[in-house]
Symmetry: C2
Subunit: 317 residues, 2 copies
């Protein structure tokens, strides 16, 4: 079996970029042709919406699969389309994997004991897509309930060659209100979470120095990102907050090690709704919405390449 980091690094090196594209379908932002086609389909509202999400996400996957290593479906939008949305999500994850993409399910799950085990079993397929209903390579998880609640996820991740990204320091405006509280050893709360994550990552690290337990650290707090990269030396990072949320490529530079590995940087809206951006509207009108998504993804890749150590990732293995 190949562990998560081996598969992740292989994908990153093969595409020569750490660009991660978020699959966040939103009804109001879908291409007009998909919205119209959905409106003319049989079924109830949620069935039509789920069809639109699936059609859109397959189109995004087709546009970006040749150039990026990984996608991150945001589970909330699919849940919001009810059971048909969840079926669409399952189908999209499997499709992305057949296109050679690493799939990180952004579900931010977390619970205790056997309940955590059920979530892990539901989402984490690891190397074999048939090992779990939702077939993800990796999953985002929330640590608030405590380190014991991370262990069932770690156990299944290690057994299946899957990965985890534990929320450490998130990208939203008030993320510091609890995560940044100073504790009696002088460190913020998120540093305690990071210590647990690093310890779990270290236990599972392979010859690359990274383990299967990663961390979510926002691009919107670059100073902390640099500190956390050091503290989380065995942990692959997932960095949200680039682009629409305000983080720049320079802000995320500290997330990488000298060889350009160690992190994936996520962009969602700016890529998948590229056809809505002034810069790509003409392209979308001429060559279709998928062409604008590919162009926006290439811009994202080039921006990372120009401003981060990920620029050293130049060989297609």
């Amino acid at each position: 079996m190949h562990d998560y980091v081996t598969r992740l690094h292989s994908a990153i090196r093969h595409k020569a970029t750490p660009a991660l594209v978020g699959l966040d379908p939103r009804e109001d932002s879908l291409p007009e042709e998909i919205r119209q086609a959905a409106a003319n389909r049989p079924g109830n509202r949620l069935e039509r919406l789920a069809w639109a999400y699936e059609t859109f996400c397959r189109g995004v996957i087709d546009a970006v699969a040749p150039i990026i290593p990984a996608v991150k479906p945001q589970v909330a939008f699919f849940e919001d389309a009810g059971p048909p949305g969840i079926a669409a999500l399952q189908s999209i994850i499997r499709y992305a994997r057949t296109r050679g993409l690493i799939v990180i399910a952004d579900a931010k799950r977390g619970d205790i004991g056997t309940t955590a085990h059920a979530y892990a079993n539901a989402w984490l397929a690891g190397e074999d897509p048939d090992a779990s209903p939702f077939a993800a390579d990796a999953l985002t998880v929330n640590p608030y309930l405590g380190p014991d609640t991370l262990l069932p996820f770690v156990e299944i991740a290690r057994a299946r060659g899957a990965g985890l990204y534990v929320l450490v320091r998130t990208s939203n405006p008030q993320s510091g209100v609890f995560q940044q509280l100073t504790t009696d050893n002088g460190q913020p709360v998120h540093a305690h979470v990071a210590r647990e994550v690093q310890s779990l990552a270290q236990e599972s690290q392979n010859e690359s120095g990274y383990g299967c337990v990663g961390a979510v650290v926002g691009a919107t707090y670059p100073a902390e990102l640099a500190l956390l990269r050091k503290q989380l030396s065995s942990s692959p990072l997932l960095v949200p907050g680039y682009g629409a949320q305000g983080g720049t490529a320079a802000d995320v530079a500290a997330a990488f090690d000298a060889s350009g590995l160690g992190a994936l940087v996520n962009s969602s809206r700016n890529v998948i709704f590229g056809y809505r951006r002034e810069a790509y509207r003409e392209l979308a009108a001429k060559e279709g919405w998928q062409a604008s998504i590919e162009a926006a993804a290439r811009e994202f890749i080039e921006d990372l390449r120009a401003h981060t150590p990920a620029g050293v990732l130049t060989c297609n293995e």
Copy 2:
């Protein structure tokens, strides 16, 4: 529109108990007759499992609906049965509501901005079951990402007469590792979360003095439960950890106000798998597994009545 607390209190008074039954189906613990019937059904493994979960949960609901006010489906177990499991969950929630039960979806969701809004929209139906795909009266949410990430949930809860239970102090063994860290004002992390929750609850409180933003506080830390009851004076509590996790009725007594309101106490395994307990095996063999569940639920209700202020809830309104 009736707000969540009005509907919750009406249900608690009507059944004269704050007993909440958790719907945590587990494949290995289902009644033998359901497992056999499932094995003989058409469909793939997950479809059969989802059928078994739905059949079992409907049976549990039928057994307890006449005597308890609320149920709490644990979403993880349904996710673990894939899309058919999610469809079963949707059906179970709607069925429980037709039986007059308040339904708290135990999903522990949490995310930022419009993503949090999507989760809230997916789960929180409030008074009108048709207002959201999953039709729950209330939802458990995780606060780690920050207060701004709670607001989309609060907004939808208030608009629809739905409720929230924010994780404050959970019942698992290592819940204190992050929740109990001492911060520089001398208070633990969970007290900061509790302050935000109390503030949100107060903004939405009705004439009963309670608002729609509740808190999850475990029965396994009774001293903190008593302190948090005071700090969270406007917040309905959801108290897990009674029974199988070691909390007693005496431990949860402090969760209630003088009139026996202010909290729901959850029991899952001890009730829904009553037929597996020594005390009820004979009853289950003679009168069926549902009779044993009803008996176990009655024992739970009586235990709360004998040892807590919830004993004053004696009138069926």
